[in-house]
Each structure stands twice: as structure tokens, then as C-alpha cells.
Symmetry: C2
Subunit: 365 residues, 2 copies
């Protein structure tokens, strides 16, 4: 109904082959042909950055094929990714539903593209590969299958709302990529903490998974936005040492984020309950602890893709917790610049990223 | 760690048998013995109200057993519910994870119970059966298996934070139960609309599933809280007629909530985009439409238990939507009284409930 009145072009609806009417992310198959609509841009791809969940699943499946007398592991992985992209016109893992991001150089920009890009710009996409039309032309011959960073020649299409960040000159590409991968978390944390502080009382902020990539940047962002104190929860001594050395939290607590009573008790003992709790732990079962660690009237921000909607909703209701629970939207205006600046200004955060750029704890996408 | 410092009693941690440390809702098995801890209360149960998803699953499984030469359908259903309660000490469907609510009469109140109840009060629980210790003593002999309302004799335990509502004298019990089942939705909608209106501009509110129980009450709540206009989306003509006759929405639109472009176009054509969008449709796949129907800076409240956390998070990011997305917390202080008053004051809402009390579109729990 009224489809022709809908301004669907910037969302890429014209690239959806099936099912008709779906948004590109939910679609099974996209059209990756290189000819541009007026509001699109085309990128010459040089690297795919598969999200951690997808890379793990692909590796496990490839290892199984390989052990069963199939091709070698690297060949099996290349075949898997090439097969998905050929069939779907995008790199969206059909098992995990997730994608990742890419880097490349802008090749052509349609006259009506609102992205502000110019040919020659070296960029990273800030929208997921799971909605980005993609064609691969080199058979992924340079990928050894050992890392989720995939050298790749091909092209990708950016829609009017497919935001991208020009890669900075002053930071190594792997570092910048890792920061951009999680840049929504510090941006939303900053906004929520700033709003809470504007109410008069500077909030206590608890961060579950504070020594990870999204968690450490969220800790820095919370402090800059006016947190009274930042309590960082981590699962083990090694992480605690990393976080303490980096100096990003006022209190560092070792605690299993899946144990609700332990999380609540730990946060209380460290100066809580929290007015703002940020969940950056990518394992299931952290909803209860986050709810119990948060003061009445406070806010929980869930960034973990392992969050269960119903566990959060029923969990809060079940303990009569009058708290606001936010789904961590990966888009906040200015998020890329904010996150890159945090890493530039805070050597501790940079050290955590440099120690982790091979691990991948991002929200994926 | 620090477990002994944790004030876990009001959450019922002492009733958890396994696994140790879990909250009662996440636990596999609770202790339903009738002896009270000082902050507990015991209820003589007269009726279980299984949530819609659980009742559907139990009925399908019982029909299969029955068709395979097992007991009759009603007997198979009774056996299933009795078996779950005997094994788990609570009525939590192991397949759906959900429970429902119960009505009964308060039998004994511990000296430290903070619930404000007295023996003889006739109440409905506002926390889920999935966390409520329960023992059944009549074999469910009076249940014919045809309805999710289960006549039942037995007892249940309320913890310090297991809130309950005294049933009103002026409303039929089935109506009051149906209203209480969804009372979190209008309460949170009211709060969010009021906050948006306080900013100066009265918000346009779109409600997906506006002719259902939670949707219709949310429509009434939005209007009372200062919405500029209420746009009600429904899937079919019959629902549109019901909603139009009830007079709860300024615009009634027929639209498939799973079609993102259609939802966005419909809401725009009806005066949108919305500053507040409320999702009350209990089918999967409504995240994209809700995101696209909402103006930048606006808020989506997801009440549907069919909401996918990752579809919402990645969907908003994928279209660069700067919106706030709330997980619909079923608890807001005063929610029961607010919802009952809406039905008392608004004959249109009452008519919708009376036409629907056998259907069950609640958030379940």
C-alpha cells in the first residue's frame, strides 16, 4: 500500500530481489550490480572484516568439511564466503544472520548521494555487511582463512543512508577498524550519562565487560560525560589487570556477569547501585545481573547481541524493577568521530585495543 | 562472592533449589513448601491464567499425545500442567519459558512482608507464574482444558517483591484479570508520551496492534498523557471496525506490521512520522516497520514478546535511525491502578476487552 509514496530509495529497497518489500538486511538476496542509482555510491573493496560470531561459525563448519575429506580449511572457508556472496549478493552468514564491515576506496558517487564522500576517499562502512550489496572478483585468493580480516577485491554499494567513515590518517587501519566496529556503544553511553548528570546528580556507572573493546570505550565515554564513578566488571584476573593498568575505571571488580546476585552484590560493594548500567558482555544470561545492579529510576543499556528481549522484559517485571532498558542502537550521530577521539585522547583505551585487535569482541553486525 | 551481603530475600533466592544462585524465574526448580519466611505471603489459589503462548503449546502437545492413543485431550492437558508443577515447583512451561498469572485469596502474611496485603484479600499476581512457587492439591479436576483459565486449588508463595493487585469490586474478575495482564503497556506508554509532551511539542503516537488488549489501553493512555494524535495500525478490516467504533484512535490504518515500507508509508500518510511508536503486535518481524515509522529523536517501545533484540538493534543502525528503543518493562509503579482506571473511564476500551477476554493477546509472562 502507498508503496510509491514511500521514500524507500535511501534504504536500498531498489536493490532487494527477494523477498519483495523486505529491507535489505532482512532480504534473502540483493542486486550487487555496479551501475549506480543517483543516490548511491560504489566502493572498490580491499578488505572484509567478518563479525566474530560469523567467523567462528564459518570456521567450525569449514573444519568439519575439511576433516570429512573435503578441501583444506582455508579453501573450505573461501568457498563458503564466495558461495554466500554469490547466492545472496551480500555477505550475510545465513546461520548467524550477521555480517561485519568492509574497508575500501570510493570509486564513484552518484549525483544525489548524501554521504559526503568523494572518489578516492578511503573508508570503512558503519552499516553491516548484512545489508550491503557486494560482489567479489578475486576469488579471495589472498585470504589464508586464519583471521576474520579478509583481503578481498570487489565492489560494494552504499545507499543514501549507508553511513561510512573516512579512515583517519593518524591511526593504524586495524586499530581504526576495531574502534569503528564498536563506536555506537560509547556514543550512546555518553548520551545517557550526560542526560543523567544533567538531572543534577552525577551517576554511578557500572560496565559489564569493561575490559573489552566496547566496554573500555564506554568506560572512557562515561567518565568524560560526567559519571561520578565508573565500576568495571570483568570475568577474570587477567582482564582485571588489563583494566586496572589502563586506568579506565574507578573500581575494578571480578565477577561472573551471569550470576545475578553476585553482580548486584559486587556493584553495591563498589559504590552502587548504578544509575546507568552498560552491558558489553557477549555471552547469554547477563540480563538479571544488570537489572539487579541498577537503582530504581536508573537505565540499563544492552549492547550485547546475546541479549534476550524476553529475559530482560520479564526479568525486570519479576523483581518489580522500575528501570529503563534500552536496546543498544548502533547508530548515534557523530559516533565514529567520538570513538576515534576517545582512543586518541586516552592511551589506556588505545593499549586495550592494541592488545585485543586480533580477538574481536565487537557487537558484530 | 559477597553473597551473604546481598539482600536477596525479597527476590526469593531462598526458594531456589536448582541451579543455586539463579533468580527464581531463571531457576529450574523452586521450593513451594507452605511455611513462610518472614517477608513472604501465602495465597490460596483459585485460578491459574496460563499465558497464551504456553497454553497454545500445551494444547498442541496434548492433542498429539491424545491422537496417538493416549488419554483424552483434557486429561493430557491436566497431566502436563500437574507434571510441570510437581517437577519444577512453579508453572513455567519448559518450551516457551513463560507462565501466566494467578488469582486467589491471601491466607497468611509474614510479619516482614512489604506487600501491604492482609489475609482474606482477593488478589491477582502481577509477577509471572514462571517465578512463583506453586503447589496444586486438587489434581485440576475442575479444568476441562478448553480455556487458559484453569480452576485450581493449591497454594502459592509471594516474595517481598512479588507484587500483587487486590481485585476491584466494581469489575468482573475476567475483565480485571485481562486488564492486569497487560497493565505495564499503558503505564510505560503514558510515561514516555508525557515526557515527550513535556518537551513542548505534543507527540504523534503510532500504535502497532492498536485493537488488541495492550494496544487499545496504550492508545487510551497515550491520549490522556497528551498525544497530539494517535494513529492505530491494525491488520484487517474487522479490527479496524472494532477500533473505529471504540473511538480510541484519531486515525485507523489497515497495514501488515511486518512490511516495513508499508508501515512507514501508512504512518506518514496518517500524519506521521511518529515521535512515539508502540509495538503491541505479537508476531515476529515488526522491528523494521516500527523503526521506519519513527521520527529522528523519537522513541519506540517494544512490548511484543516476539521482538528480536538483534533485529531491532541492527535494523536501526542499518538505516541510521537516531531513535531510542525501549524494552517494554512490565513494571511501572502504579500500573495496575492506572490500567483499571482507563477501562473504567473509557467505555470504548472496555468494549474491546469484553469482546476479547477469551482470546488472550497479552504479553503473557
Amino acid at each position: 500500500m502507498q508503496r510509491k509514496d514511500f521514500p524507500g530509495s535511501p534504504l536500498g529497497l531498489r536493490r532487494v530481489i527477494e523477498p519483495a518489500g523486505a529491507l535489505p538486511q532482512a532480504a534473502w538476496r540483493l542486486d550487487p550490480s555496479p551501475q549506480l542509482w543517483p543516490d548511491e555510491a560504489r566502493v572498490r573493496v580491499d578488505r572484509l572484516n567478518l563479525d566474530a560470531a560469523s567467523f567462528r561459525q564459518l570456521t567450525e563448519a569449514a573444519a568439519e568439511r575439511s576433516a570429512g575429506g573435503g578441501p583444506g580449511l582455508a579453501a573450505a572457508l573461501r568457498e563458503a564466503v564466495l558461495g554466500i556472496v554469490a547466492e545472496r549478493g551480500k555477505m550475510q552468514n545465513p546461520v548467524t544472520g550477521s555480517g561485519g564491515m568492509l574497508t575500501g576506496v570510493v570509486e564513484e558517487v552518484g549525483p544525489d548521494s548524501p554521504l559526503g564522500l568523494a572518489p578516492g576517499d578511503r573508508i570503512a562502512t558503519l552499516v553491516s555487511l548484512s545489508l550491503t550489496p557486494l560482489a567479489i572478483s578475486d576469488g579471495l585468493a589472498r585470504w589464508d582463512g586464519r583471521s576474520e580480516q579478509v583481503p578481498c577485491d570487489g565492489h560494494a554499494i552504499l545507499f543514501g543512508r549507508s553511513i561510512a567513515a573516512v579512515l583517519p590518517d593518524d591511526l593504524p587501519v586495524p586499530l581504526a577498524l576495531a574502534v569503528l566496529d564498536v563506536c555506537g556503544a560509547p556514543a550512546l553511553t555518553s548520551r545517557v550519562v550526560r542526560q543523567a548528570a544533567a538531572g543534577g546528580d552525577a551517576p554511578v556507572v557500572a560496565i559489564l565487560g569493561a575490559a573489552g573493546k566496547s566496554g573500555s570505550l564506554s568506560a572512557v565515554a562515561a567518565r568524560k560525560a560526567g559519571a561520578r564513578s565508573v565500576i568495571g566488571l570483568v570475568p577474570a584476573q587477567g582482564e582485571a589487570d588489563l583494566l586496572a593498568t589502563a586506568g579506565l575505571a574507578d573500581q575494578v571488580v571480578i565477577c561472573d556477569a551471569r550470576d545475578p546476585a553476585a553482580v548486584a552484590a559486587s556493584v553495591r560493594a563498589a559504590g552502587g547501585p548504578a544509575q546507568v548500567t552498560v552491558v558489553c558482555v557477549d555471552v547469554p544470561g547477563c540480563e538479571g545481573g544488570a537489572v539487579l545492579a541498577t537503582a530504581d529510576g536508573g537505565t540499563v543499556i544492552f549492547f550485547s547481541m546475546a541479549t534476550s528481549f524476553s529475559a530482560a522484559a520479564l526479568g525486570a517485571e519479576g523483581v518489580a524493577a522500575d528501570i529503563t532498558m534500552l536496546i543498544g542502537n548502533g547508530y548515534v550521530p557523530g559516533h565514529a568521530a567520538l570513538a576515534l577521539d576517545l582512543v586518541r585522547d586516552e592511551p589506556g583505551a588505545r593499549r586495550i585495543f592494541e592488545s585485543r585487535t586480533a580477538e574481536g569482541d565487537g557487537n558484530g553486525g
